[in-house]
């Protein structure tokens, strides 16, 4: 126990990086997700095809492999990224693919009559998207998006392999220093659990608010 308290700031710093990586990747993943979802729904054949291949590759390969390719693999092509940057890039690209599927499904779930009603009053396709479809699709997409966020919180532990000192690697470093396993691994498990639970309850609250807004 004392060992943990002595090293608590070190562990909390790891938790901070875990959170930071999650938020940053989620932010860029969100942007990628929206663009790719629109590309798949509204793009011409070529764009639709490219977007589909991207989603298929990302979903069909392990996140760990993607992270390693971005960090070690790109070096062969003269692209050297710092560990943290590589983590942001790999995870953003990864979340983007999953979120694009969420967004695409959410947009498609809005009845065609909504678009037709908007078109009938003279709104352009883009005005219709922005004013009529997105606000409704957002409600559909928020719960699965929250789940992606919580999933990502845990998935960030993968970037420990490229020497980003997030929560898992913090524990590994302490283990290497003190030669005891359980206290450190248990305490980071608790920290993951606390973070997931906090975000789950925030998500629950948001979902409740959403369901009674109209």
């Amino acid at each position: 126990m004392d060992l943990i308290f002595e090293n608590l700031t070190f562990l909390l710093k790891g938790a901070y990086y875990t959170l930071l990586i999650t938020v940053v990747s989620m932010f860029f993943g969100f942007i990628i997700g929206v663009i790719v979802a629109l590309a798949r729904l509204k793009g011409n054949r070529l764009i639709r095809g490219l977007a589909r291949i991207y989603v298929s590759i990302i979903r069909g390969t392990p996140a760990l492999v993607q992270i390693i390719i971005v960090y070690y693999g790109l070096v062969d092509y003269g692209i050297t990224l710092g560990p943290l940057t590589a983590a942001y890039v790999a995870l953003s690209i990864n979340i983007g693919a999953y979120l694009s599927e969420t967004f695409r499904g959410a947009i498609q779930s809005i009845p065609k009559g909504q678009t037709e009603a908007a078109y009938a009053t003279g709104m352009t396709p883009w005005q219709t998207m922005r004013r009529i479809i997105f606000p409704q699709a957002a409600r559909v997409a928020i719960p699965p998006m929250g789940n992606t966020f919580i999933g990502m919180l845990k998935e960030t532990s993968l970037v420990s392999v490229i020497t980003v000192t997030e929560l898992l690697r913090s524990a590994q470093l302490l283990v290497a220093q003190y030669y005891v396993y359980m206290p450190f691994y248990l305490s980071i498990a608790v920290m993951y659990w606390i973070m997931s639970t906090v975000f789950s309850s925030i998500l629950n609250y948001v979902e409740k608010r959403l369901s009674k807004a109209y």
Binding site: G113, E116, A117, Y119, A120
Partner: protein, 250 residues
């Protein structure tokens, strides 16, 4: 003066010919009721007129804007957008925006399409909701309105764009019987105020009393047209007679 005129307007979906050389005219201040059995192409016809479907043959004119099937897509799109700003459409399923209040639904087009100032748009929106008898519901979301009230909001939303013609596609078919009357009476008032209307409906009493002209369609062709008296009392064709028998049976 013709607000709508179609010239051999045709439409097919892949191999299915839905509209075959339709010639219909709707003059200013006229109420034209379009009748016909289910699947005869009535909805498709209305949807062609405001570009929700692309025509595949012939041409049509709405409020002086001429659209020909032979025009390149880009050019046709521009004309359609112009036409949509002069036509109002009311759907069977209302299609109100669920995330906007009654007033929000009515003023949406004024804000985005006409780029009107918010206070101006609200002023118009409130007047229109009053006209359909719903001023007390302006801040209510569609999910808390009855079907009849939703459809009246939808009518107000279409009127907001100050259309030269209103297209109605079975506006009362999705309503419980006791709610049909309130929507029809709003439509009657519109007719009295001189609105030009093209109405697809199965409400025969409405057709007989309000229509200036009845057009009977079957299998994508106009089978018969004339005054409501002539059509209902002296149908000329076997198709029309059969249709009227079936309608009056229930």
């Amino acid at each position: 003066m013709a607000i709508i005129k179609t010239f051999e307007l045709s439409k097919h979906f892949n191999n299915l010919e839905v509209l075959k050389h339709i010639d219909i005219q709707v003059d200013q201040n006229e109420i034209v009721v379009l009748l016909g059995p289910s699947g005869s192409g009535k909805s498709t016809f209305l949807r062609c007129l405001n570009g929700l479907e692309d025509i595949t043959g012939g041409s049509f004119e709405v409020n002086g804007i001429h659209v020909d099937a032979k025009l390149p897509a880009r050019q046709r799109k521009a004309l359609i957008r112009e036409i949509r700003q002069h036509t109002g459409m009311v759907f069977q399923q209302f299609n109100l925006y669920p995330h906007k209040t009654a007033l929000g639904n009515v003023i949406e087009g004024l804000l985005t399409v006409k780029k009107m100032r918010k206070d101006e748009a609200v002023h118009i929106g409130e007047r229109l909701l009053d006209r359909v008898g719903l001023s007390d519901k302006k801040d209510t979301y569609p999910s808390r309105l009855s079907g009849g009230q939703q459809q009246r909001v939808a009518i107000a939303r279409a009127l907001a764009m100050d259309p030269a013609i209103m297209l109605f596609d079975e506006p009362t078919s999705a309503l419980d019987p006791e709610l049909v009357g309130e929507v029809l009476s709003v439509m009657r008032e519109l007719a009295q105020d001189g609105m030009t209307m093209l109405v697809v409906t199965h409400e025969m009493k409405f057709a007989r009393e309000v229509a200036s002209k009845v057009v009977f369609m079957a299998d994508g062709v106009v089978v018969e047209e004339g005054s409501p008296q002539a059509f209902f009392d002296h149908p000329q064709t076997e198709r029309a007679k059969k249709f009227l028998r079936q309608i009056t049976e229930h």
